[in-house]
């Protein structure tokens, strides 16, 4: 430890401070703008708001065409997370515990879906969900996002499950547990943190996605991300409100980040670290 401590002196701290500053600066600027009026944004150039105001946030939280965007996004994101985890749990168990016909091919095929460009699927999804009458519904977006979230959940959960010794399963079966009862009562509590991490990443990837959710919705299920792009392209740019809307979309991630900080690398690498 001593060697490490010596090699990481003031230089290392300086590098980190500079890097963190680089990361925070653009976010700070957005926050700064969200607390100003439009006149101040366009008129005076200042590093912090001269007359801090929460008007922009008030606009968003009182105007249904704005705040319904958040409600819509949250609805399909939660739906998607629930579906993804529910179907991924048994599958991940199968992959981590058994070998079966075509298992490797299936596992690979799942991965290709995580890696597939959303742009390829935009048009076929639009037609598929229109033809079955689900266009502009939350469930359509939730199902579409399963394309990349189910594989992600399976891979992450498989990684966590493989860390649980198989003897536990065998002992439980000897003790007379049926599979469903063993799975819910004994196994799921053991991988609770894994389920949490998988759920977090499903939530996140569904939350940050724009292309599919925008293609599949028009009015009733329009996500906040799409509401924001509309404002950008409108002629009268309301920079303050735009900035406030952006800050509000960062909050869900920022709230839970502390709990998953040690698993972030694992989640982004599909459970493989």
């Amino acid at each position: 430890m001593a060697a490490v401590a010596e090699s990481k002196g003031r230089g290392a701290a300086l590098v980190m401070v500079l890097y963190l500053l680089f990361l925070m600066l653009p976010i700070y600027w957005l926050l700064n703008m969200s607390l100003k009026t439009n006149r101040e944004i366009l008129g005076v150039f200042s590093l912090w708001p001269q007359n801090p105001t929460l008007d922009n946030y008030r606009t968003i939280l009182t105007d249904p065409s704005w705040y319904m965007g958040y409600v819509n996004s949250l609805t399909y994101v939660v739906l998607n997370t629930a579906i993804s985890i529910a179907v991924a749990l048994p599958a991940a168990y199968a992959f981590s515990r058994y070998r079966f016909l075509g298992d490797k091919h299936l596992f690979f095929w799942l991965l290709t879906n995580r890696m597939a460009p959303a742009a390829v699927f935009a048009l076929p999804f639009f037609q598929l969900y229109s033809s079955i009458g689900l266009f502009d519904t939350h469930i359509a977006v939730a199902l579409a996002h399963c394309l990349f979230n189910v594989p992600l959940a399976v891979w992450i959960l498989e990684g966590f499950m493989s860390g649980v010794p198989r003897e536990i399963d065998e002992t439980a079966y000897v003790d007379g547990y049926s599979f469903p009862r063993f799975f819910v009562r004994i196994f799921m509590p053991l991988i609770a943190s894994g389920i949490g991490v998988a759920a977090f990443f499903c939530f996140m990837f569904s939350w940050v996605e724009l292309l599919l959710s925008r293609t599949l919705t028009s009015v009733d299920a329009k996500p906040i991300a799409a509401t924001m792009t509309r404002t950008v392209s409108a002629s009268g740019l309301d920079w303050g409100v735009l900035a406030a809307a952006g800050i509000l979309t960062i909050i869900p991630g920022a709230l839970v980040i502390w709990f998953v900080r040690n698993y972030i690398a694992k989640g982004f690498a599909l459970g493989r670290v």
Partner: protein, 288 residues
Amino acid sequence: MDKPVNNRAWFLVMPVLALVAFSALLPLMTVVNYSLQDTFGGNQFFWAGLEWFEDVVHSDRIRAALGRQVLFSASILAIEIPLGIFIALNMPKKGVWASFCLVVMALPLLIPWNVVGTIWQVFGRVDIGLLGYTLTKLGISYNYVNDPIAAWITIIVMDVWHWTSLVALLCYAGLQSIPDAYYQAAKIDQASRWKVFRYIELPKMQGVLLIAVLLRFMDSFMIYTEPFVLTGGGPGNATTFLSIDLVKMAVGQFDLGPAAAFSLIYFLVILVISFVFYTLMTKEGEAL
């Protein structure tokens, strides 16, 4: 660790299979269908054979987009991988400061992609953005809206801002697995800092680095939202990457045939890269 063979495990996989087949296979078949046919509207289709594929392969526009795409992916890899390693080496090992670094570094990863675009759109503006304003005051001509070079630099810096932390976090996870005994041995041998890196740290990071390179390559190869919000593919076509071009074709102009052929080629490229990724990753797992 050998697992028992049990084909009844298929029952556990069925829900996933059904769901992914519905949301991936079915749409993909539509794409294959369109790529081989032509339509003049009214739901009448004619066999077009490989015509669309030839069109796509010979299209100057798509070739140009592919060129830009490769250049973009190569540039961000060349910056993010070394920078990520460098940051990981400088990260504190434990304590509150380490947790703090982790949390701040992860923040850009969790921001919706269109907001990432918005953040940089605002940040880079000459009139109201900190970056654009400062550069202009310093006498540097910078305007990402109508200068292609400035637009490229902005997009690359944005991607570095957005994703370098992922590389750093993966490398950090790799570094954490090195036992202290290795460093002590190196110290006894009076190994230089470079040698410690070259012979201890780099080999231990090999596995995670591979994942980092492949993830960054694939994700940058299908980047859409961030440049779409920031520049809309402009000025002109200067920052129109493959996905932006494809969406323009499919949803904007409704050129179903060519768009479908384009999609399939795009998908095949991704499939090949995924296969390399899978092989390397599972091999890594067996070695452990």
